[in-house]
Symmetry: C3
Amino acid sequence: MSTVLTAKLDPQATLVGLAEKKPERVTLVVLSGDMDRVMAALIIATGAAAMGMRVTMFFTFWGLNALRRTGSSSRASDWLRRMFGVLNKGGADRLPLSRFHFWGLGTRMMKRVMQQHRMPDVPELMEVAKDLGVTFIACTTTLGLMGITKDTLVEGVDQLAGVSTYLAEAKDAQVNLFI
Amino acid sequence: MSTVLTAKLDPQATLVGLAEKKPERVTLVVLSGDMDRVMAALIIATGAAAMGMRVTMFFTFWGLNALRRTGSSSRASDWLRRMFGVLNKGGADRLPLSRFHFWGLGTRMMKRVMQQHRMPDVPELMEVAKDLGVTFIACTTTLGLMGITKDTLVEGVDQLAGVSTYLAEAKDAQVNLFI
Amino acid sequence: MSTVLTAKLDPQATLVGLAEKKPERVTLVVLSGDMDRVMAALIIATGAAAMGMRVTMFFTFWGLNALRRTGSSSRASDWLRRMFGVLNKGGADRLPLSRFHFWGLGTRMMKRVMQQHRMPDVPELMEVAKDLGVTFIACTTTLGLMGITKDTLVEGVDQLAGVSTYLAEAKDAQVNLFI
């Protein structure tokens, strides 16, 4: 529901005036670690933030790879999570396409096309998002499950949190997407 | 929020009566080009439109393939986007299943089952959606990135637009999904 | 929109008091049958239900596998759906990871890590969800398409329904996600 409509409904808001209007909110759960889906999430996030909306992105499961330093590995003490960490590499610049990845070849092709068209890639979009005040939250459950420590995440992660933090934000937001 | 509830909240609406009620809105971002996900999007879209809701579908990335003419290829001038265009074929009747596609065999099996049960396929659902007034928007960023020109899209695309058009619609909608 | 805000907007609600507040609602369409996505859906569902929200989960397409008894096969009379049923096995404990499934090896690794960290798996999360009053709806269209009969579903499925039931719930919900 738009705040404009809220203002119409609330007699008090009309008295107090437009200055009282709360910014509209957007939340994005980013579970996918695919380059195309993370890009779409960031394009929506930066677009909304540029329009004055309050945007929160919750990175969970494979999506958390976008918040991990490139080349960082799992620091888990057990071999099982370590082995999984070898497969599941972090780094916003290393996300594969969901289609036509072809062991990296297709993804590299797409990146070159983006470069030629001066389209920002995932690391650049993340910087723009941070500059526009988008909140980045890393899912604590995933961190534990994958043996990822806070110091291996990139700078700019605002909070480590769980599902209740997400829901508290989402229930007051106008746009909630699961990506 | 339902318009019914809005009517209760707004004293003016009660005076003016039910004729003034705005239709409820649904927006769907269709990033996936998988047959099953596009079908789900169209079933929700046509269902909502049949219930009198205002429905907008934003086709982006692989989802845009549903809006491309079957057999149309990328008209990009550079070999890189052309090569990508060879892989990424358009056509609403050519979308693969997200599971058990098996180089076309699984998808063809599923299509035959659907035919036997007189279930509409993706091209038929798109026609129903257009008849019910669902708005189709093609993402301009994807068009540029993939070297797809407007004349290779199917008829019935209402608008070429970007993220701000999407957000302007989504912030006032009751149901927003990312597919 | 939060009910707290609704209470502020509605003069009647203020008179009647907080006891009249309707619970906030969450709907989740679960199309994916991937372990990680179904787990995320259930974590959001149980989290929301624990916070007092009314949660409805609509299982459709591959997501329906989570509601099928382990080892149950398609009872379709035609060989085509039967063959598809052999590929598309049901069972909440059999869902594959969307990444690194590796013919079951990667998924088994992840399950063992979860066990070591005493994290509930999909069948356990489903039980918690049922205990917390989450509503499970199985998509009738998928049942027909895949030749799945009601008696091969697990206990705890509240309803078999279609898209209009989903939309009626979603249009009044604060959080609607497509997973």
